[in-house]
């Protein structure tokens, strides 16, 4: 038997008031008479203690009402109907934190197995949801407990984050199909900063894990400009202490097996520090690793890629060459552009990117092209404009990623473009009251960027033309067909695979997978090296666990009311029987009886 509101028992102190009033009333029963000598001196016969039934009834009524306020309940083991259990097992990165001799994830799986053995009764249905970056229904509700147990045994933790709220929502969606009882059991370390307590209200939770000692690499950044040689590149590694106590560690960084950074450090709780290295030996994988006595090892290793570079060969095709000197100056400034001779148009084999100025690109062009101020043809352009002000740019496109252009406004002259079906807009301008398209880009191979701005006619070297020059260079970098085959990525972050349909994927553990033909994104669940093989080409993904939500491994305090009891067994269910009404009724009956008895005594004829 339990009490839902035990504090209400404090009202029992009112019994003291009742007893005091009763004592006072008994004291007042002495009748004052003029003299005692005329009264019989015969004492009353000795008798046993006489109960004051009125007081007893009052105390009984008070006790019953106080207990009713405390909302007593009794949990009875009753045979139950078929029940549906949905097990949510946390497989996020923080579950790999060490606890005892194992990990939190192992403890959660063991707890879930115990739940299957002890809490699931015959005929019950069990479903299994894995809590990852997307909740995954591994086993729909089924009476085959062995299948669920097997799925639990095969479950492996991810190196990414997840949302408990989404997993709970998925579990709730299974409740509507349940005919009998329904229960959600959550096996997690509850390290989410925002614990969905409302969603957890009816769930049974099995918290695992403790401690918050964790050092994590939060980023490995390679500061390499386009076409910048690897030896001139710098790299930085950021490390953060997510624990509540100062932590010491040793940071190592290697490129092609050569140590480029080795440093020890001490970080205060919550402190983050960046370590820089400029001693990169050349292109290759940059591997940063932490040596520290912390609980979570997933975020102690991270990868980045130092790209191999060589100058971009650009073929410039234009009927006008009066600004040629500016372009040459720009190429010399970058140190990574090489303008090909004017005859390059006839021999395109040495050309990486074409630049067509006031010249339409040929239809059978097989190389990427940057088209500047194309001539009006009615289909791709709509006409020449003057004094066009810049209205906006596509900041989501790689050409404008990481910087904000500040164009001279207005442009002296520009060409209004027509957006092709497979292209995305890059630039918008405003001519009078009209918004016009000034640039677009297409991913269709070979890539093309069209800019209606006559960039060559503008003064590229003027101080206020910096943004235009950067736009040209960024466009050329994006058009570079020698796209780096290695990318750095974060675990759990969808990787766009629009051009990799059907590609074979080699996972970090050596396992192989195949992308669907129409897949748009691939989510790497674990850290490490992913290789996408399609035909002769391949793309490499270096995935690191950078999620701060998982690096903060301190378990949240789970309300005691949500913690699972272990008193039930599989064949019976604990049914809470509310006794508050019964006690309330008993109290009212006692009050009514007391009132009746008091009235009867009042009407009792005196002798």
């Amino acid at each position: 038997m339990g009490l839902a509101e035990p504090l209400a028992l404090s009202f029992g102190a009112l019994a003291g008031i009742l007893l005091y009033l009763h004592w006072q009333a008994r004291r007042k029963r002495a009748y004052v008479v003029p003299a005692l000598f005329l009264w019989p001196s015969e004492p009353p016969p000795p008798r046993r203690h006489r109960w004051d039934w009125l007081l007893l009834l009052q105390l009984l009524a008070l006790a019953a009402l106080v207990v009713a306020l405390a909302q007593p309940f009794v949990e009875q083991a009753v045979p139950r109907a078929q029940m549906r259990h949905v097990l949510i097992v946390d497989r996020t990165a923080s579950m790999q934190a060490r606890v005892g001799a194992g990990t939190r994830f192992q403890a959660a799986v063991a707890e879930a197995q115990r739940y299957l053995a002890e809490e699931v009764g015959a005929g019950d249905a069990v479903g299994l949801i894995a809590l990852g970056e997307e909740p995954e229904l591994l086993v729909p509700p089924t009476a085959d407990v062995a299948r669920v147990s097997q799925a639990l045994g095969e479950l492996v933790p991810y190196d990414s984050a997840g949302s408990l709220a989404q997993a709970l929502a998925l579990a709730r969606s299974l409740q509507s199909q349940a005919r009998g009882g329904f229960r959600v059991a959550v096996f997690s370390d509850f390290a989410d900063a925002a614990l969905p307590e409302a969603a957890l209200a009816d769930a049974k939770v099995f918290p695992v894990g403790e401690g918050d000692r964790n050092l994590a690499i939060t980023a490995v950044e390679v500061h390499q400009r386009p076409w910048q040689p690897a030896r001139d590149t710098r790299a930085s590694v950021r490390v953060r202490n997510y624990g509540s106590e100062p932590s010491h560690g040793l940071l190592l960084a290697e490129v092609r097996g050569q140590v480029v950074l080795r440093t020890g450090f001490t970080l205060a709780p919550g402190e983050e520090q960046s370590f820089l290295t400029e001693l990169l030996p050349g292109p290759g994988e940059l591997v940063a690793s932490l040596v520290a006595d912390d609980l979570l090892a997933v975020d102690n290793v991270a990868w980045a890629w130092v790209a191999e570079t060589r100058p971009l060969r650009v073929c410039f095709v234009s009927p006008q060459t009066e600004r040629w000197s500016d372009l040459e100056t720009l190429a010399a400034a970058t140190g990574a552009l090489r303008w090909l001779p004017r005859t390059c148009a006839r021999n395109s084999s040495d050309t990486d990117v074409f630049v067509f100025h006031r010249t339409p690109p040929p239809e059978d062009l097989h190389a990427p092209a940057l088209v500047l101020a194309p001539p009006p043809d009615g289909s791709r352009t709509r006409g020449r404009l003057r004094d066009v002000a810049l209205a906006g740019w596509n900041s989501d496109h790689p050409v404008f990623a990481g910087w904000s252009p500040a164009f001279p406004m207005p442009f002296a002259q520009a060409q209004e473009l027509v957006l092709p079906p497979d292209a995305v807009p890059l630039l918008w301008g405003r001519a009078g009251e009209r918004t016009v398209l000034l640039g677009w880009a297409t991913e269709r191979q070979p890539r093309q960027v069209w800019l209606g701005v006559d960039a060559v006619s503008e003064s590229l070297l003027a101080p206020d033309a910096f943004s235009l020059a950067v736009t040209l260079l960024q466009s050329l970098a994006w058009l570079d067909p020698r796209e780096q085959p290695v990318r750095s990525w974060s675990a759990g972050k969808p990787f766009p695979v629009a051009g990799l349909g059907g590609a074979e994927v080699t996972l970090p553990d050596g396992a192989r997978d195949r992308l669907p033909q129409a897949g748009m994104a691939y989510v790497p669940h674990w850290r490490g090296r992913y290789e996408f093989h399609q035909g002769a080409g391949s793309t490499i993904l270096l995935v690191s666990a950078y999620d701060a939500r998982e690096a903060a491994i301190a378990p949240q305090r789970v309300p005691a009311s949500l913690r699972a009891g272990s008193e039930s067994d599989g064949a019976t269910a604990k049914q809470r029987v509310d006794w508050a009404r019964a006690f309330l009724l008993a109290g009212l009956v006692a009050l009514a009886l007391e009132a009746w008895l008091a009235r009867a005594r009042a009407q009792e004829r005196p002798v």
């Binding site: 002495a30 008479v33 003029p34 005329l38 009264w39 019989p40 015969e42 009353p44």
Partner: protein, 316 residues
């Protein structure tokens, strides 16, 4: 003037002083009343038409007798001598002063139980009415309050004039119940000073042993007073209403408590005891030649003044 005027005695000129009020309708009836019991007289001449021995001087001619040698020649009736030639002297009956002393018991038992019309309240009204009866006829009257721990007897001056009725009422208004009833000692204290013979009316509930009451009454009688014992006894005192069962009784004067089982048997025992007490008191008074009147305060003041007291030959 005899007696000692105490500081608590209210002044007649004080309009704000509390007073004992009597119904106006009753005052008209009291005007026709007077004490009719035989009373001893004092040597002092007064207005009370009390019989005294024939004397040689006075206002009312009682008769004639023959002159004896040596008598004062001023008393000779020369007109009779002229008519008869015999020497006769006139004999007069003098009007002597006879005071009335009304003693009110103010012990705590007079206020028990605490009701709107307690024995003490009734007693104050009764004493004020009797004082008014006296003063209405310019008969001297004095009131004494018996009881209390500090002063066992608190005496008033001897009032003689009708206008002093209000003063008597105010004197009674300050009477408060206090102390245990030791009426014999209080009466003895009352008799400490020289008093004129007259009527002594003791108003009390007599809730003390008859022996103590007899001793007090005997003291008054020994001083030559015509003694009247007015016994205030309520019907509710004779037959109290108590809830059945075990009850605790507390003595109003001593605070002593007694627990008894109140039932028909104990109720009968109590009634018999109080009736025996009243009979013994009556017998004691009759044996000593005193007047005894039993008055029920619940019956009202008019019933006592116009019923019980006249029937006992006290007033008429």
């Amino acid at each position: 003037m005899w007696g000692k005027r105490t500081a608590r005695t209210p002044q007649a000129s004080d309009p704000a002083a509390p007073t004992v009020s009597l119904p106006l309708s009753l005052l008209g009836k009291l005007d026709r009343l007077q004490f009719i019991l035989p009373r001893p007289t004092a040597l002092r001449e007064g207005t009370v038409r009390a019989r005294s021995a024939p004397a040689a001087h006075g206002f009312e001619v009682h008769g004639y007798r023959e002159y004896s040698w040596g008598e004062d020649l001023r008393h000779l009736d020369w007109n009779a001598y002229a008519r008869t030639g015999e020497l006769f002297v006139r004999v007069f009956r003098a009007e002597r002063e006879s005071a009335t002393y009304i003693l009110l018991d103010t012990s705590s038992s007079m206020a028990a139980p605490e009701t709107a019309n307690s024995n003490l309240g009734f007693g104050r009204q009764l004493v004020a009415a009797l004082a008014y009866v006296c003063l209405r006829r310019h008969e001297p009257v004095s009131v004494a309050l018996l009881g209390g721990e500090a002063a066992r007897c608190q005496r008033s001056p001897l009032w003689r004039h009708r206008q002093q009725s209000l003063e008597a009422a105010r004197f009674l208004a300050v009477a408060r119940p206090s102390g245990r009833a030791d009426v014999a000692a209080a009466v003895a204290s009352f008799l400490d000073v020289a008093l004129h013979p007259g009527i002594a009316v003791l108003v009390s509930d007599f809730f003390y042993p008859v022996e103590q009451a007899a001793r007090a009454l005997a003291l008054l009688r020994a001083r030559g007073f015509a003694v009247v014992a007015v016994h205030l006894l309520r019907a509710s005192d004779v037959d109290p209403t108590l809830p059945g069962g075990v009850v605790t009784l507390r003595d109003a004067e001593t605070g002593e408590e007694r627990t008894l089982h109140w039932n028909a048997r104990t109720r009968s025992m109590y009634r018999q005891a109080i009736e025996r007490h009243a009979q013994a008191l009556r017998a004691c008074c009759h044996d000593q030649g005193l007047y005894y009147v039993r008055v029920d305060p619940d019956a009202g003041l008019e019933a006592a003044l116009l019923g019980a007291l006249p029937q006992a030959g006290i007033v008429g």
